[in-house]
Amino acid sequence: MPAVSKGDGMRGLAVFISDIRNCKSKEAEIKRINKELANIRSKFKGDKALDGYSKKKYVCKLLFIFLLGHDIDFGHMEAVNLLSSNKYTEKQIGYLFISVLVNSNSELIRLINNAIKNDLSSRNPTFMCLALHCIANVGSREMAEAFASEIPRILVAGDTMDSVKQSAALCLLRLYKTSPDLVLMGEWTSRVVHLLNDQHMGVVTAAISLITCLSQKNPDEFKTCVSLAVSRLSRIVSSASTDLQDYTYYFVPAPWLSCKLLRLLQCYPPPEDGAVKGRLVECLETILNKAQEPPKSKKVQHSNAKNAILFEAISLIIHYDSEPNLLVRACNQLGQFLQHRETNLRYLALESMCTLASSEFSHEAVKTHIETVINALKTERDVSVRQRAADLLYAMCDRSNAKQIVAEMLSYLETADYSIREEMVLKVAILAEKYAVDYSWYVDTILNLIRIAGDYVSEEVWYRVIQIVINRDDVQGYAAKTVFEALQAPACHENMVKVGGYILGEFGNLIAGDPRSSPLVQFNLLHSKFHLCSVPTRALLLSAYIKFINLFPETKSTIQEVLRSDSQIRNSDVELQQRAVEYLKLSSIASTDVLATVLEEMPPFPERESSILAKLKKKKGPGAVSVSELEEGKREGGELNGGSDRGADTAAMAASNASTPSPQADLLGLRSTAPVGSAAPSAGSLLVDVFSEAGPATPSAAVNDDGFLRFVCKNNGVLFENQLLQIGIKSEYRQNLGRMYLFYGNKTSVQFASFTTTVSCPGDLQSHILYMQEHFVEPLVEGGAQVQQVLNIECLTDFCDAPLLNIKFRYGGALQNLTLKLPVTINKFFQPTEMASHDFFQRWKQLSQPQQEAQKIFKANHSMDTEVLKAKLLGLGTALLDNVDPNPENYVCAGVIQTKNQQVGCLLRLEPNAQAQVLSHTHTHTHTHTHTNLYSCL
């Protein structure tokens, strides 16, 4: 077998690497690198032509320097030169350099593509593979344009070598992912599918990834792959452990290929053809049987490979969800793994069982493992395993075991890792509500939650308990009694004070008969906590006090005294002061009747989906990473959601029955316009909403004109939002290139199916800007989840229309179709230019030919505030030049629009006056209309 000596072939490289390794300090390393860079630069610039070997060596050194984290700004040309060498080692270094340092320099791309083209047609399999690997690694739009039609040909040609086929299949996959519009399978489809029959297992292994991806997008065209995959799988599964020779891994025949085949089948429903289905079920049974056989090797590699197949088979069984027998067997198998000594297996079994729990066929079987799972929650060392155990307990919970599971989770909470406490709290709160038979148990559970993990009890949780207590009069007395008792504790969590204050304010009368909890006792108890609380809680307590005045007239004077005290009525916090003043006044001047009407008991809340459930989904959603970014954008967009003003929550309490509640009177955020879209999946829950019928009427062609205009001067924010979907944007531009991140947030609790987005350029825009879709959005967007998409944009020449983004998805069966203007405007490619007054007017005069000049007078729609206007002009991307125009009222800007083909200098002068504003601008090129469009936003 080959043994490679250190850096053989390139001594200079090995010496250089050694030198770097011997550097004692970062400074010494930088010094050595700079020396080397100078040396290489002089060699590349020298008069003597370098031979291939030297070129390869220097390019390789540059690559090494780059990989150490230093910028490399030369050597690209030399690397490209290496591509046309006919020596493998030189070519390889050239391709490697290109693959690692992808550069969008258009000159080079053409040369690189040329070299690739030559290698692809060279009939030399080694060179062909190098070229294909380069395409697969870079995967740029330009490469797709150049090679997308050539590669399928190579893939299916009869005389193509196996190794080339493998590379061609995956290369095509990469191009399909970056530029699906350019990869047209049509005529090749059937031949590609038949690669599943290829004699060479490596070809099948590679091709199946391509087929799986294509099947997901075009299931019908590729559905013949199902029977081929089943028969291939069947041959592997039934083969003896030595049959497949090279493809046997630790006595397991072709484990990776088996997994890929099983995964491909998960793109389709169970086979309709009885024979195919029978054969597949047989395979699945064999796989389950093999798991019971004694291992052929003690090595962990053997069991891992075997179990990789087993878990994939179980995934398929769960996916089909139609074979009770297999589902139960799968469950039993996983049950054995729950107690396995390998942590990996316990983890995977818990994870896999979670999905089994949701199948009606295996739910009961999963439940039999409850004790083991509870034990795992208590004893596992790895927090991620405990997390899976908690997930599984949550998934297997139903009415029969809810009390046990909730109790276990509560006791686990006392010692749970901080990282998972909040999620645990949400889960307990949801289960307690969902399976509450008597609501006193529910109230106890939530109060326990606050006691045990008060810091992790979010607003949603305590809002919810109040909502439920208000809606169910059979539990109100119990709730009042329980919170009263809980508040007796010398130190209780602030969330407990909130709940206590609210509930006693509403229902304190229900326990006032007992002298131990007489009105004054209640009040004194609440007020004893007052000084330790934060402002929002104090505000809530003040509202509770005014409610007390209504409930118990005998407390009036005591409470008025409290309200009148300087610490309330002169409180430095505006909210507290206002409440104190208003409540005091209200209690002194309003008649008992008026007081009773204003402060009447809260009406029941409209029933809708638990906000806790929505929160949990959001927490678990796949978009977690970018949520904060989107929220940041949201803030910039100035679209604050109502209800985030905590202080305002309690205002509602006093104003609950006022005839026209202000938007802020939306207590607990629960009475806002109910989201039409929030369908509730959990039918068992009492308070879960009932809006699930049909989604809203399918909107279409909703063009976001005002949303669009807001983005002329800024790059981040919320582009669009309706009841179902929120689309956030982050974008950045440099010269003629731009990158736009789109965040699609599913605001509902139901998944969006067939979610697709397409960007199109209306009219001749295509020839002005270029788009490259970086990655697709997954076709399923889970409820509460957020997905991200990246668009690369290149400005070729100036343009005026905006590209369109079309979004289609299914929501509850109805197809939603939405078209938005993407905020890509010509000013995004502005680069500010600073210039002095003299230069400005000199150029201004030079550019005074009619076609170079444009002038427009328009009325200002908004106030002409200097700072606002300045900010907008800067947002436009130009440089705002001070002290240039002799008239200080005027604004003068300069910038260069960077397009691929040319650079267009723009000078802009804005002459506002009180009635109208005059705008004149001049530039080297005629595209007046574009500018007119832009400036209309001012």
């Binding site: 690497i17 390789c60 690694n137 590379s167 992912k177 590679a206 590699q301 991620s384 697709f776 990246v790």
Partner: protein
């Protein structure tokens, strides 16, 4: 219908030593340089705190890292959360066995001095974020052939 995610399966492959020095970084998704650096540091932080009793899987952002430690080196593969953990775990081992054979008892220094060859090994076994070839015999035969070329 539940579908497995469509997209690049492997997001990146990293080989790092315990000190956090990167010995190989292969990216199958577009990241800018700052993002790459951040990912490298995060992976190192996440993986090195775990011990032998922990699983070989860690949730990581919206993905998961499947990793295995060999002496002082961590081999990490970042994949989709729905991907098959054990298949990638053994994918790593298969790759390590090939490196071991190719470099004759591979050690960290081999990866440093022959970094450009390591890329070739990776491309033979993983391409476009997918598993390309799993047979050690076939891969080594191909590498031997390439080795003999000038």
């Amino acid at each position: 219908q539940r579908f497995k995610g469509l997209g690049i399966t492997i997001r990146f492959i990293l080989i790092q030593n315990r000190a956090g020095k990167t010995r190989l970084a292969k990216w199958y998704m577009q990241f800018d340089d700052d993002e790459k650096q951040k990912l490298i540091e995060e992976v190192h932080a996440v993986v090195t705190v775990r011990d032998a009793k922990h699983t070989n899987f860690v949730e990581f952002r919206n993905f998961k890292i499947i990793y295995r430690r060999y002496a002082g080196l961590y081999f990490c593969i970042c994949v989709d959360v729905t991907d098959n953990n054990l298949a990638y775990l053994e994918g790593i081992h298969n790759f390590v066995e090939v490196l071991n054979e190719y470099f004759h008892n591979v050690c960290e220094l081999d990866l440093v001095f022959n970094f450009y060859k390591v890329y070739t090994v990776v491309d033979e076994m993983f391409l476009a974020g997918e598993i390309r070839e799993t047979s050690q015999t076939k891969v080594l035969k191909q590498l031997l052939m390439l080795q003999s070329l000038e």
